[in-house]
Amino acid sequence: MNGEAVFFTLFTVSACLGALAVVVSQNVVRMAFWLIICLGSTAGLFFLADADFVGAVQLLIYVGGTLVLLVFAVMLTSSGPYVKIETSPGEVILAGMIGLLFLFMVIAAQTGIDWEGTGSRIAEASEIDPPDGTFDTGAEGHTLRPIGMSLLGLRPDRGAAASGTLFTGYLLPFEIVSVHLLVVLVGAAYLARAKRRREA
């Protein structure tokens, strides 16, 4: 039991409990609150998995942006002081059973996988670095520069072979997502605003 394990357990428990509470909660704002707990702990898990940039983005955009928007929408659309959701007990039991079944299926599918063996087989066959290879995400969690480089189309994490072949870089999605954001912004602004009257 070391520090990492302590934090991992803590974040795991709070993420899972948060997610469960979102499902169980009967009040929309409380759902949002539990969602914050859940997503915040997920960000903590990202920090533990040495993805500090993703964790920070998760906090900034997801928790600080998307969820604020959700809570805003709850406030703007709630007719009573606290929006209650009525769910019949039968429905809850049914959904719970289906959910458990589903969870069991997903877990069953991923147990018994020899991840290391699979990883080394892939690495061997495709001549890329093995999982614990040169790109050591564990090394102090410094993933910022590799991520930036990859977004521009250069793959330092692919190590030795980087000089020759082209590895996947993510310049196109980076740019095209900005177009997408522009389009969505225009759409959302159109839907949310009142019809303008043009001054003659």
């Binding site: 039991m1 070391n2 520090g3 990492e4 394990a5 302590v6 934090f7 009040n27 704002v29 409380r30 609150f33 914050i36 915040g40 920090f47 533990l48 040495d50 500090d52 940039f53 964790g55 920070a56 983005v57 906090l59 900034l60 928790v63 600080g64 942006g65 969820l67 604020v68 809570v71 805003f72 406030m75 002081p81 606290y82 670095d129 093995p130 614990d132 290879g133 040169t134 790109f135 050591d136 995400t137 564990g138 090394a139 102090e140 969690g141 410094h142 993933t143 910022l144 520069r145 590799p146 330092p156 190590g159 030795a160 072979a161 980087a162 000089s163 020759g164």
Partner: protein
Amino acid sequence: MFLTLATQSLAELLESAGISSGWQYAGAAVVHMALLFGVFSLCPFFFIWMERKVAGRIQDRLGPTRVGGRFGWLQSLADGIKLIQKEDLCPPAADSLLFRAAPYIVCMASFAAFVVLPFSDGWVAVAADSGLFIMLAVMSLEVFGIILAGYSSGSKWSLFGGMREAAQMVSYEIPLAICAVIPIVAAGSLNLNEIGNMQSGGIQNWFLFHDPFTFIAFFVYFIVATASCKRAPFDLAEAESELVGGFHTEYSGMRWSFFFMGEYASMFAVCGIASILFLGGWNTGIPAIDQGLAAMRASSGPSAYLGGVLGIGVFAVKAVIGVFIQVWLRWTVPRIRIDQVITVCLKYLVPISCFLFLGSITWPLLLHAGQQRTTWTSEPLGERMAAAIPGNVAGRPANPDEPAANPDGSDESRHPASDVPSEAAPAGHAVTWMKPVEVTR
């Protein structure tokens, strides 16, 4: 506050006492977490006292004079004791869970930001590579506590206050982030410790004077930071004349004071960021003294410790001056209207900061075209940075045949709250080039 240094020594101490590895770091982290929290719970006491004194002087009064001596040093402590004694009320119309949880969220978001804020060279709890970004991200969580407080109070004043506050904070996050990124363009790193070290060697190396755009950006940043801390003249959320107390109308006692602890802590945090990004951090700006301090920090034993403490002193003075100016502004500038607040942000501050950002990108290009250099400060920053990153330019192996595997692997446990260097990554290894500067201790 002295986490890296002290965590390590404490961990060693615990290890000698026979406590297994892992637990020693956990123990050290807990102790220092408590220390950090303790120090920053006292910080608001000082700032509140300062606020009252400054307000008094500006209004031609004396301010607190009785409790704890001539200058009323202990006035805030007395206030604190009074607040603890007050009844912890939860209005019947409120959603009790959220009502109780909201102040903690605000407080936690403000305090958690200090985890990545360096107080002196290497004196940082977590030397994160994307420190600035994490700090802004964590601070952006504060808005949640405020919305939840406003919504769960079950009162119209609170609801309106919360909504206003949320709109304001979310809007001001945009120019805040853009302004904070402008010195980053010059520095090429988000690691706050690295940024602080880059500004050593004279006041001309401070990013404030790096180029005209960073100079303006500092002032824009300061305005935006004031607004994002919901300080006057942007304190619309708690506009007493319109909304009674805003989002904290229904709060009393300790919970009420948590909001204020959060507010003062985040004031210090934004001023700390300003001090590191623009004002040289723990560097005094006088080359001789800076070199002396750096030499002290590089040595070992008590003098290194002293060097660190002096660095903290320099840093804290700069940040406290920032807080003082925010206090000063509060008592001299009248509050503006809510629509004006949003207009100022979206119509003026965002375009200005975007323009500054563009300018700061084109500046090195222009300078390079004209003068064959990328900064006009003494030594080109890029070169200093390149030198600081081991193997960045020269160290990148030219031969791709260099062994790629890292035998030690990445599964070495890394303690989240302390910066334990992993045993892996031998020097000159193929990947060292992309690791930023090792935090010198």
